[in-house]
Amino acid sequence: MNFEFSEDQVLLKNQIRRALDDHCRSADVRQILESDSPHDSQLWRVLCEMGVQGTAIDDSLGGAGAGYLELCVVAEELGRALAPVPFSSSIFLAVEALKVAANNEQKLALLPGLASGEKIGTLAAWEINGPLQPDTIAMRWEEGVLNGRKILVPDGDVADVAIVIARDDEGLSLFAVDLTDSGVTRETLETIDPSRNFSTLTFNAVAGQRLGDAGDGWNLLEQVLNRAAVLVAFEQIGGAQRALEMATDYAQERYAFGRPIGSFQAVKHMLADMYVDLELARSNCYYGAWALSTDADELPLAAATARVSATQAFQHCSKNNIQTHGGMGFTWEFDCHLFYRRSNLLAVLLGGQSVWKDRLVSQLESSDAA
C-alpha cells in the first residue's frame, strides 16, 4: 500500500509553497480584499510562469502533462495561502468541463489558453438563490445564441471564457462562451469574502458552442462538480491546516495567568478536536484524490465524502482559530477572519453541504456494501 503523495509530489508542494510564501503573503490577500481589484493578477502571472495552471493538462494541449495528484497538491497550497486568483474557476471548473465534455477540436481551441493562464475560464450555472437543480435553469439556447442571466459566477468579472449550462428543446446542454462578446454584461456582487470575485453575467444573444451531446448537460455538469469537489476539498484542508497552525502557534506564545494558554486543557482539547477533524478530512481527501486520479467508479462517493468532511474541517478550524485568539482574533488586523471568510465561502462554492450530504447518502443507498 502506498497511500501517500510521492516524493516528487512533495517536492512540487514545497516549490509551490515557496512561491506563495513570496508572492501571496497575507498583505497580498488583503490587497484584493480591501480594493476593487477582482484578483491578484501579479500572482496569476507568477503561477503562469511556473506553469501551474497546466499541471493536469496534457502536454499536447499546452499543459505540463502531470496528473490529478499533482493538481491536488497545488490546490492544497493555494488554499493554505488563500490565493486570491481565479484558479479554481479556470482550472477546477472550466478546464475539467472541457475535459469531460469537449471534442478534440474544441479542446485544441480552448485548453492551451487556459493551460498557459493566458485565458481565464469559469463555470456559469446558478440562476436563482438556492440549490442548483435542472428545473432552476431557464437560460435559452436558440439559433446559435444564448439569452438569459447567470448569477454568482465565480471570477465572472475576469473570466474570458465561460462554460454555461442552458436549455433548448432537447433539454440541458453545456456551452462554451466567449465572454468578450458584446452581448455580455457583468455586474460585480458583494460577498462575505471579497478576496474572491463573483459576478452576475447577463447574456443578450451571445454566441456559443455546444460541448458534448445535446441533452447531456446535467450529467456532464455532475461529473465536473464531482471532480471540482475533490480539488476544492484540497483547498479547504490547506486552509484548515494553516488555521490550525496559527491557533497552535498563538496558544504557545500567548500567556495568561502566568502560563501559555495552550497549557490549559480547554484550549488544548479544542485544538485536539480541530486536529482530529482535519486529519479525517485529509484522509478522505486522499481517497478522493486516488478516485479522481484513477477515474474510479467510487468517484461520486469519494468526492462527496471529501467535500463534506473538508467543508466541516475548514469551518471548524477557522472559527476556533478565532476563538483561540480571543479578542485579537476578531480584529481586522489579525488574519483569522480571512480564513473564516474563505471557509464559509468555499462551504457553498459548489453547492451547500446539505446538497452534498444528500448526494453522498444516495451513493450509500445504491452501493451494496451495507
Binding site: W126, I128, N129, G130, P131, L132, Q133, T136, I151, L152, L189, E190, T191, I192, D193, F198, E253, R254, Y255, A256, F257, G258, R259, P260, F264, A266, V267, Q315, K319, I322, Q323, G326, G327, M328, G329, F330, T331, W332, E333, F334, C336, H337, Y340, R341, N344, L345, A347, V348, L349, G351, G352, Q353, S354, V355
Partner: protein, 413 residues
C-alpha cells in the same frame, strides 16, 4: 407559578406603558425594529443625538437609572421595576447602548467609592445622558486574565501619571469620562498592585483609535495613555485596592438581566418558513426540523431561565452566576445557525448585499459578528470555568502565578 405581575408591579407597568406611549420617538421605530446583532442604523437621524434626547426625556420624567437613589438622579426603584421598564421600553432600548456601561458599571462604582461631592457632580449628569462614561479595563496582553494588566500609574505630587494602552473600550470616542484600572505596584502579587481612577477622556495625552473589527465594523477602540495626569482625588478606592473595586463593577453587570439575549432564532424560524429549497419549503425538510427543534429548545430554555431569574428578583433575591449561561448558549448557537442558514441558501449564501440576500443579509452579518459574541465579556471557556467553580463548586485550576510578584510572572512574547 404564573407570569402575572403583582398588583404593585401591574400598576408600575401600566404607568410606564402610558408614559412611553406618550413620549417615545415613534418616528425611529422602523429603524429600531431592524437593529440587532450590535448594529443600529437610524438613516438620516444622528444616533448620538437621538440617544441623548430620549435619555434626557426619560431622566426629566424620572425613568433613567431607576434603581439609583434620588439624590444621584434615580428614583430608588426596585430591581423588578427596572426589569419591567426594560420590557416595556422594547425596541427603544436600542437607543440606550451609549449609556449601558455608564449606568451599569461606572455609576455604581462611583457611587460606592467616590466622595459625596463627586457623586453629586457626576452621577446626575451620567443619569441624564449629558455625560457619557466608558470603562478602561482590557489590555492587549490581558483579556481573560484581567488582573494581568500593565498600564502604569505613578505618583507625582497630588497627581498620578498614566502610561499604557487599553483596548476593546466601547464608546470611548463618544465618552466624556472613563473609569480606568492601572498597575501602581508591579512588585507585589498581581491582584494586589492595582488601583482604580476616573478621568476626563479629554485629558491631554489620551488618544483614542477605533478598532476595525473582523466584520469590518468599528464599535470598539484602543485608548493610548501618554503621561496623562489624574488628580489623586479621582482615585476610586485605596491604592492597591483596584481589584476589589473592579469586582464591584463587574458584579453590577449581573444585575443587568431581564433584557433578553438575542439568539437569532426568530430570524431563523422566519427564514425556514419562507425559504424555498429545491424540494419545497425549508421547514418541511426533516434535517432542518431536527435542528430547528434543538434551537427552539435552547431559545425557549434561555427565555424561561430568564423568567426564573426575574422571579428571584421579584422576591428580592440577587441572581447568581447562573446568568453566565445566556451568552454561552447564545454565542455558539448564533454561529451554528448562521452557518446552516447560509448553507440552506446554497451558493447565494455568500451574498452580503441586503437587496439580494435572504432576510436582508441578516445571517451573513450574524456569521461575521458571532465569533465576537463568544469572546466579549468573558470567553466561552471563562464562562464554563465560572459555572463549574461558582455554581457547581468545583475547585479552581492550579495557579501558575500564585504568590508571584507581578513583575516575575512569565508573559511569553
Amino acid at each position: 407559578m404564573n407570569f402575572d405581575d403583582t398588583p404593585q408591579e401591574a400598576e408600575f407597568r401600566s404607568s410606564v406603558r402610558h408614559w412611553i406611549d406618550d413620549n417615545a420617538p415613534k418616528y425611529l421605530l422602523p429603524y429600531l425594529e431592524k437593529a440587532s446583532f450590535a448594529t443600529m442604523d437610524l438613516g438620516d437621524y444622528n444616533a448620538n443625538d437621538e440617544s441623548k434626547a430620549w435619555r434626557k426625556k426619560k431622566f426629566d420624567a424620572g425613568w433613567a437609572c431607576l434603581s439609583w437613589p434620588q439624590e444621584y438622579g434615580g428614583v430608588g426603584a426596585s430591581p423588578i421595576e427596572r426589569v419591567i421598564w426594560q420590557q416595556e421600553e422594547g425596541h427603544y432600548a436600542a437607543l440606550g447602548g451609549l449609556f449601558t456601561i455608564g449606568e451599569g458599571m461606572c455609576g455604581p462604582t462611583v457611587m460606592s467609592y467616590a466622595s459625596e461631592g463627586q457623586k453629586k457632580r457626576y452621577l446626575p449628569k451620567l443619569a441624564a445622558g449629558e455625560e457619557v462614561w466608558c470603562q478602561l479595563f482590557s489590555e492587549p496582553g490581558s483579556g481573560s486574565d484581567l488582573a494581568g494588566l500593565r498600564t502604569k500609574a505613578e505618583r507625582d505630587g497630588d497627581d498620578w501619571v498614566i502610561n499604557g494602552q487599553k483596548i476593546w473600550t466601547s464608546g470611548a470616542h463618544h465618552s466624556d469620562y472613563g473609569m480606568l484600572i492601572t498597575r501602581t505596584d508591579p512588585s507585589v502579587a498581581k491582584h494586589q498592585g492595582l488601583t482604580m481612577f476616573f478621568l476626563s477622556m479629554k485629558s491631554p495625552g489620551v488618544e483614542i483609535r477605533p478598532i476595525k473589527q473582523a466584520n469590518g465594523q468599528s464599535g470598539f477602540n484602543e485608548v493610548y495613555f501618554t503621561d496623562v495626569r489624574i488628580p489623586d482625588a479621582q482615585r476610586l478606592g485605596e491604592v492597591g485596592n483596584g481589584w476589589s473595586v473592579s469586582l464591584t463593577t463587574l458584579m453590577n453587570e449581573r444585575l443587568s438581566i431581564g433584557g433578553s439575549m438575542p439568539t437569532g432564532f426568530p430570524e431563523m424560524l422566519a427564514l425556514v418558513k419562507s425559504l424555498q429549497t429545491g424540494e419545497g419549503l425549508a421547514i418541511k425538510d426533516k434535517a432542518v426540523r431536527d435542528k430547528l427543534a434543538d434551537w427552539h429548545c435552547r431559545t425557549s430554555g434561555l427565555k424561561y431561565t430568564s423568567s426564573r431569574m426575574i422571579s428571584a428578583l421579584s422576591r428580592g433575591e440577587t441572581p447568581g452566576p447562573e446568568a453566565s449561561i445566556g451568552k454561552l448558549v447564545a454565542g455558539s448557537m448564533m454561529q451554528d445557525m448562521s452557518m446552516v442558514a447560509l448553507d440552506l441558501q446554497d451558493l447565494s449564501g455568500i451574498l452580503v448585499d441586503p437587496e439580494l440576500a435572504e432576510l436582508s443579509a441578516r445571517f451573513q452579518a450574524m456569521l461575521l459578528r458571532s465569533p465576537a459574541t463568544r469572546v466579549e465579556g468573558g470567553t466561552d471557556e471563562i464562562l464554563r470555568n465560572i459555572i463549574a467553580e461558582r455554581v457547581l463548586g468545583l475547585p479552581g485550576d492550579i495557579r501558575a502565578d500564585k504568590g508571584m510578584a507581578f513583575s516575575d510572572i512569565p508573559t511569553g512574547r
